[in-house]
């Protein structure tokens, strides 16, 4: 029964090795899907390329459906997984700042690392920017602290927050995602093509 390392089925020393293997796969998939190109990434906001939306939603759907199936069949304990904590203030304001950073820089951290790895100079500069941003945040941590800790709601999931069956939620999410794929294709046909 998974997760394997916290349940000590695989010794904890393997953690770092799996980290590298998973990282390689992650980097390979991101790069091969075209996420090393900032103009392709930014395309989703101007309607000329929806790769981000497609990859992101497909990954979210496949992973959440797969995890639910594995949980149902007893291979994976959903309760033992790390759930991203919900800090309402931090998530909203931090997310808004990240969105602004996304549209100005054209990358998000994972993709910028990929792009830097294949020699994109703008991505290297972007990674430098991230490092400076983290540095600034840490130095001014006392200023940001109320924002950072604000609106803590616990390690909650959709099931806890809305008391809805995860299966119903995922089904609705799937329908929504498929609809968004259809709309994305329609929009893409209408918008003027951008060559990059």
């Amino acid at each position: 029964m998974g997760p394997l390392i916290p349940n000590e089925i695989i010794p904890a020393e393997w953690n770092s090795i799996f980290a590298i293997v998973i990282g390689i796969a992650f980097g390979y998939i991101l790069e091969s899907s075209g996420f090393s190109s900032s103009r392709k990434l930014a395309g989703v906001f101007y309607g000329y390329d929806f790769a981000v939306l497609k990859v992101f939603f497909t990954a979210a759907l496949v992973s959440s459906i797969g995890i639910l199936y594995m949980d149902y069949m007893g291979y994976l304990d959903l309760g033992a997984l790390y759930v991203h904590p919900t800090y309402l203030k931090g998530a909203l304001i931090g997310g808004a700042i990240m969105g602004l950073g996304f549209i100005t820089g054209g990358f998000c951290p994972g993709t910028s690392i990929c792009a830097a790895a294949i020699g994109k100079i703008d991505a290297l500069v972007y990674v430098g920017g991230i490092l400076i941003g983290i540095f600034l945040f840490s130095e001014l941590f006392s200023r940001f602290e109320p924002l950072y800790d604000g609106g803590f709601m616990g390690y909650i999931t959709i099931m806890d927050a809305f008391e809805i069956s995860p299966y119903v939620f995922v089904f609705a999410f799937t329908l929504l995602a498929v609809l968004s794929f259809v709309i994305a294709d329609i929009v893409r046909k209408r918008v003027k093509k951008v060559v990059y």
């Binding site: 916290p6 790390y82 089904f171 498929v178 794929f181």
Partner: protein
């Protein structure tokens, strides 16, 4: 011509893929629903509950306490009144009805100590043990025979008579010295050992039991 056919097929294949995705998600809805149960499987719980491995004898416990084993922690599951009147030195009191309270979890679900549950007999202690075992708590033992056996074998050991084998006499002398450790005085020992001030069952300063880390370290970014 060929290209157009291919294109047509391609548009269809996306639709087929979308249908597959929706079907897979919908399949989750169709799965026969059942309540996920809390704790380990009933079969393994029954096997654990029947196995006598969890029992620790009074003599063994006395030996561990006397030798100052730091890893042992006795939890008395009787009510506080009975606990106040007498308990094993160093024991802490968690009444059976509170055994599942959150604040007691750090005592029961931990890896630092070997916990010995005790009650008057081992009936209540066993109940506590079975519930904790279902929740997957490790390192829990039960004092066999409970306080009754503690009294009959450690505090007031029966004196063996002459005919009994040597081992019985050895056991008796161990138990006798153990009972003296726990405060019992014997007249015939008066001269050999002046009645030492009774080691009052001082409440053991329980170092905050280090809770087993359950949550993963800060994940994500």
């Amino acid at each position: 011509m060929y290209n157009r056919k291919l294109a047509k097929l391609l548009t269809h294949s996306y639709q087929i893929l979308a249908v597959i995705l929706i079907l897979l998600a919908g399949g989750l809805l169709l799965l026969p629903n059942y309540e996920k149960h809390e704790g380990i499987e009933p079969e393994s719980l029954l096997a654990n509950a029947i196995s006598p491995e969890r029992y620790i004898s009074s003599d063994e416990l006395a030996h561990k306490i006397i030798s100052g084993d730091p890893s042992i922690l006795v939890i008395d599951v009787r009510d506080s009144e009975r606990f106040e009147s007498y308990s094993i030195p160093g024991a802490i009191n968690i009444p059976l009805e509170d055994i599942l309270d959150e604040e007691n979890e750090e005592y029961l679900d931990q890896a630092a100590y070997e916990i010995v549950l005790c009650s008057d007999d081992n009936f209540y202690a066993d109940q506590a043990w079975i519930l904790c075992n279902r929740l997957g708590y490790k390192n829990l033992r039960v004092l066999q025979g409970g306080m009754q056996d503690w009294f009959n074998s450690v505090i007031n050991p029966p004196q063996p008579d002459e005919k009994m084998p040597n081992s019985e006499h050895e056991l008796y002398s161990f138990r006798k010295s153990a009972s003296m450790f726990f405060g019992v005085a014997y007249e015939d020992e008066v001269k050999a050992t002046p009645p030492s001030p009774k080691p009052s069952p001082k409440p053991k300063t329980v170092a905050p039991v280090k809770k087993k880390k359950k949550k993963m370290p800060e994940g994500g970014c």
